[in-house]
Amino acid sequence: MGVPNASEDLSSEMEVDAFRQLFPLRFFERHLAESIRPDGAVASANGSALVKIGSTTMLTAIKMEVMTPSFESPDEGCLAIDFHMPPICSPIVRPGRPAEASPVVSKQLSDTISSSRMIDLKELSLVSGKAAWMAYLDVYCLDADGALFDTALLSAVAALSHLQFPAVAMNDDGKIVLVSDEDGQKRAQEPVNKEKRKLTLKSIPFSLTCILHKNYILADPTAEEESIMETHVTIVLDTSGQLISLYKPGGPVLAYTSAIQDCVAITRQRVKELKSFLDNENSAMEV
């Protein structure tokens, strides 16, 4: 990176505010390149997205299947989120020995998406009590270079915004079947989702991971930085500015509330950037 490490000349007693004002570049984007490809990165899936923040790459694909809804919630479908770290993504992942981060990020992702109430599971219903959509969202990490949760969340959100429901109809046995493009089947019933083929996303969550080190805050760390400095804070905000989740799993640095508030402030800016980025990509796709 071209930015010189001038901050090391200064005393380590410097306030976080001063640091932020003097070295805004180090405070914000660590990575020069960002790209999202919510343009059908996977052709065989119902929704997919390939997201790269710096070198960290995540490929998400959503596959829909029809299932019978549970007894307690006959009007709701289901969204199953799974995060995978295959051995290609990092030298520390070995086959047969899943990475430590894998189930952690997986759980964080499911929790964040369900608590953000981005998706109304009722939209996944087909026939009340009889049939509903089961959406399997699989996030594959293709290159693990830090800030895994941020990139995973962004790619899950991008894939959900790209998701298109397959067309279905009920056949004579009362079972739901997929309808192919050719008109080969009698349509006894047109389900509701025939008109509304995309999911409505309410408030979309975006996140930012920061590392706390002495009095510094490093936003969007790379894997190398994460391995050296262990205290990280992940903040998830939604587009309306509400705090959805705050995650600081221990670490050697004890943070003052001011540091956490600074992290929230940077995250707020990040949310604006990511939102406009996602909107641009989505509208570019529709063209």
Partner: protein, 241 residues
């Protein structure tokens, strides 16, 4: 079911001797020592090579050669229906073994004793010919990692349906029940390293179908050489040579 129309066109509009479009990219995974993405039509595969590095399991270390390991896995969403068990099932284990033995034959393992070379292949989209795409991607990834090899290994499949030899089968043609010949060769040395065949094929036709597959492999080898050359030019340019 007609796989070759009377005009000589296949299900996807190709001619019997026509391969699908190939596309390759080197260096897709920054964390890996070598990596590549290889696409053959709709089949898309990503390979990453880590090595040579220290052997993780000391008891498996070989004092005169490098240890080559390979893992093949398919993403949950890669095939038509979502897969429950993408690796560890019999097919994946078999293909992992096949790829490992194929690549091991061409890596100069005696030059890297007491080390380990890991080849990981992940199928992102499967539309027939995943084995071949994996081998081609692994070759590129090994070259990107700078691992010494005797020659490139390229692979292609061929079959025989409706009395016509077909090159590079896609999933529809592969599941038609006809013979499926997968071939892996060292193009410069003109040696066959992998040959697998399913179903039944009259022995006098085997020669034909194999020859067709060899042509396919040679075409892929030419493409791979172009990609590697282009990559080297890029590296030179970045170094300011």
């Amino acid at each position: 079911m007609e796989y070759v129309s009377p005009e000589g066109l296949r299900l996807d509009g190709r001619r019997p001797m026509e391969m699908r479009q190939i596309r390759a990219e080197i260096g897709a995974v920054s964390k890996a020592d070598g990596s590549a993405i290889f696409e053959m039509g709709n089949t898309k595969v990503i390979a990453a090579v880590y090595g040579p590095r220290e052997v993780q399991n000391r008891s498996q270390q070989i004092s005169s050669h490098a240890l080559v390991r390979c893992e093949y896995s398919m993403a949950n969403f890669s095939a038509g229906d979502r897969m429950r068990k993408p690796k560890g099932d019999r097919r994946s284990t078999e293909i992992s073994l096949v790829i490992r033995q194929t690549m091991e034959a061409c890596i100069l393992t005696h030059l890297l004793p007491r080390s380990q070379i890991d080849i990981y292949v992940q199928v992102l989209q499967a539309d027939g010919g995943t084995r071949s795409a994996c081998i081609n991607a692994a070759t590129l990834a090994l070259a990107d990692a700078g691992i010494p090899m005797r020659d490139l290994v390229t692979s292609c499949s061929a079959g025989y349906l409706n009395s016509t030899p077909l090159l590079d089968l896609n999933y529809g043609e592969d599941s038609a029940g006809g013979p499926d010949v997968t071939l892996g060769i060292l193009p410069k040395l003109d040696k066959v390293t992998l040959l697998q065949m399913d179903s039944k094929l009259p022995i006098d036709l085997l020669e034909n179908v194999m020859q067709l597959a060899i042509e396919g492999c040679k075409a892929i080898a030419n493409y791979i050489r172009e990609i590697l050359l282009e990559n080297t030019n890029q590296l030179e340019y970045r170094r300011g040579v």
